[in-house]
Amino acid sequence: MSESTISRRAFLRAISDSAQHSLVVLTLPSIALAAQQAQAAQNNGRAFGTLSQDEAAELEAIAARILPSDETPGAREAGVIYFMDNVLGEERGEALPAVRKGLSDLQAVANARFGNSILGNLSDANLDTLLGEIEESSFFATVRYLTIAGMFAAPVHGGNQDEIGWRLIGFEDTHAWAPPYGHYDAEYMERGE
């Protein structure tokens, strides 16, 4: 891992902390890009236990359209694919054959439609078109389920790395709170309503 990669990761963490755990405020594309590069570097080389490298890359391409990386990090940066790899080998092992079948079916459609069977090589627009057409399928429902679960499950399960999913929506893994919790109760206390 290169020196510059480490410094980007440190930068990402520092930015995140200063943003008070909310990545919503990270609207500068350059910061999102840094986050993506840092995460990609972090994940690079991690072995998969259940999926092949090719399967993982293809499922990650779909996950990245369900929770895209745009102004804020998405499924890719959260390492959702590592969650999928874990649970498709364990708690959701029963879904693995259908996921593999659905993936190869979709690749066949991609090949017929766009002359390229690698989903990761398609443009975002083309992949979105294909996914839009199978929105009602059980394959899409399963991949969507796993993507969202991986984005928001506790990081110990492999996804939601650096709590990216939680911070995206303003959830903090804090075990104790004290009032006020939000804007309106703060106002209420202040005014003595």
């Binding site: 919503v24 369900i66 979105d128 499950a153 929506i169 004290a178 919790y181 109760d185 209420y188």
Partner: protein, 553 residues
């Protein structure tokens, strides 16, 4: 003192099946009165350090609520002429652990009001239903509600509209949340009253237990500081300390044996390794909940009780009531953060009884909640509540705002008791023990649905009054398909022809068998039944102790 140890062949005074909201109380009361007690619990005895906030394990992998993934499939159908189908998730949901569902409930404890016990007399017959008065009144139960307040641990503030109480709450109410402020402001606009929600959660340290730390993981989770007043936290430690109570966990009851003279003699169960045992007892108390208690009675059929033990009335399993439930969501300009602290802090009870002029029977309350009980994964799974997007950039960006800037005003309401809403044994599907699966048949009475629509309408008015945008409502307008409130399936009554247990929770037909849990409820109240289950448990235990001392068990 260490917990007691009894041999299965030794006849104890009482064997109790289930250690939940009712079972924990009955165990504590009987054992502290000096009676020998064995508690059989099908789940584990989790300790505070075992409790997590892990949504994947708890919500998606049925860590507490065992369903098909854990070898406990359930089937569902709306109508009796249909074939019930196995569902992906548990239909009747309850936690499998010491403390039962009081382990994972959110502790919203509304006392029933005097009207709940005598409503049939007040409003008259509702044709096609089993709507009747209770055999007991509010006044008879009041001392036991107060016992719940003080023995279990309650936080609240008595309002002038509340039913009378003989003693104040032990602890002040929980601090108001932003969502509670919004509900209170909305109610003021409309001339209604929002007042502090009563909780079976400690707002301050009490009885050697810690106060709430407002972590937000009440509903569906165990409380890691023990502030939630579950049976596991508030009752079982004292039962075990008494030296008269033995708790056997991971024990699943197969059937209850009866003798030729129609008395219960022993309870047959599998231990964790699948070895069958049989515990002899002078009397048996089923506290297995409104789903498992009727199932066990059906499984305990015999030549003397061909339709199920203690089921001469035919009422076992019938009159299942879930309570109605609605949700009206709205977006707000500033952060609400309803995922923090207890689920709700304000409740409106202006519509406890909806005026009869509306043309239907019903009533309930409205409180304020986070849209997904504060759970990030569950929140995202259902897609954007407001834009409808379920994947893609719009979806992601909607989530980022909606999680913190929205809340829901939820209705909790009445369910009418019907013979056609019931728990029975599935004729085909079996669980991991080979027992017939729970089969639920449920379709709401039209008045239940009209009541839910009424609460949606009121909640939308409230949202508008407080300036919410993107107001959207949802409820099971074509009938509820499952529930966590499992009520009515062994109803209490004076008439053995139309009820299963008497006014002291004793089976009409079996003198040494008691059923104490949600199944005893004659009507379901307005949406928060557990306090009444607990009050009935304290009351029933009192009578069991007296009966035991008179040699009448």
């Amino acid at each position: 003192m260490a917990q007691a140890e009894y041999s299965p062949s030794e006849e104890v005074d009482f064997v109790i099946v289930g250690s939940g909201a009712a079972g924990g109380i009955v165990a504590r009361e009987l054992s502290m009165a000096g009676l020998s007690v064995v508690v059989l619990e099908q789940g584990p005895h989790l300790q505070l350090s075992d409790y997590t906030h892990d949504e994947w394990d708890v919500n998606q992998n049925e860590e507490l609520v065992w369903g098909p993934r854990k070898g406990h499939p359930q089937t569902f159908r709306k109508y009796e002429h249909e074939t019930a189908q196995v569902q992906d998730r548990a239909v009747l949901t309850y936690a499998h652990n010491v403390g039962g569902s009081s382990h994972h409930f959110s502790g919203n404890f509304w006392r029933f009001r005097p009207i709940d016990f005598m409503e049939r007399s007040v409003i008259g017959e509702i044709p096609g239903t089993n709507f009747v008065d209770w055999p007991i009144t509010y006044d008879e139960l009041e001392p036991y509600y107060t016992k719940v307040d003080w023995e279990i641990g309650m936080s609240g503030l008595q309002g002038p509209w509340d039913p009378p109480r003989s003693r104040d709450y032990p602890l002040p109410p929980m601090p108001v949340k932003a969502s509670g402020v919004l509900l209170e402001r909305a109610a003021k606009q409309l001339g209604w009253t929002a007042y502090p929600e009563p909780h079976a959660i400690l707002s301050q340290a009490f009885n050697g237990r810690a106060g709430c730390i407002h972590c937000g993981f009440c509903l569906g989770y165990g409380c890691e500081v023990g502030a939630k007043s579950s049976s596991a936290t508030a009752m079982m430690p004292q039962a075990l300390e008494s030296g008269n109570c033995e708790l056997r966990t991971m024990c699943t009851v197969a059937r209850v044996e009866t003798t030729a003279n129609g008395r219960v003699s022993e309870v047959v169960y599998w231990d964790e390794a699948g070895v069958l045992h049989s515990q002899k007892a002078k009397a048996t108390v089923l506290c297995a909940n409104g789903a498992e208690t009727p199932r066990l009675l059906f499984l305990s059929e015999s030549s003397r009780f061909p339709d199920g033990l203690a089921n001469g009335s035919g009422m076992v399993g019938k009159n299942l009531m879930f309570n109605g439930s609605t949700s009206t969501a709205g977006m707000f300009e500033h952060p609400v953060n309803a995922h923090k602290s207890v689920p709700t802090t304000r409740v409106i009870h202006d519509f406890y009884s909806i005026d009869q002029s509306h043309g239907f029977y019903g009533g309930g309350g409205i409180d304020e909640r986070h849209l997904s009980n504060g759970l990030p994964m569950s929140f995202a799974m259902r897609g954007s509540r407001f834009s409808g997007a379920s994947w893609g950039s719009e979806f992601k960006n909607q989530l980022a705002r909606e999680f913190t800037h929205s809340c829901a005003f939820n209705g909790h309401s009445t369910s009418l008791p019907l013979s056609s809403n019931n728990v029975t044994l599935d004729p085909v599907v079996r669980d991991m023990w080979g027992r017939p699966a729970l089969r639920t048949t449920y379709m709401n009475h039209p008045d239940d649905l009209a009541t839910m629509q009424f609460f949606v309408d009121r909640a939308e008015e409230l949202m508008e009054a407080v300036g919410a945008t993107n107001i959207t409502s949802s409820f099971a307008s074509d009938g509820q398909t499952g529930g966590a409130h499992l009520l009515g399936t062994c109803r209490m009554g004076d008439d053995p022809e139309s009820s299963v247990v008497d006014r002291y929770n004793r089976a009409h037909e079996v003198p040494n068998l008691f059923m104490v849990d949600g199944s005893s409820l004659v009507t379901g109240g307005r949406g928060q039944p557990t306090m009444t289950i607990m009050a009935l448990a304290f009351r029933a235990a009192d009578h069991m102790i007296q009966a035991a001392r008179r040699g009448e068990i």
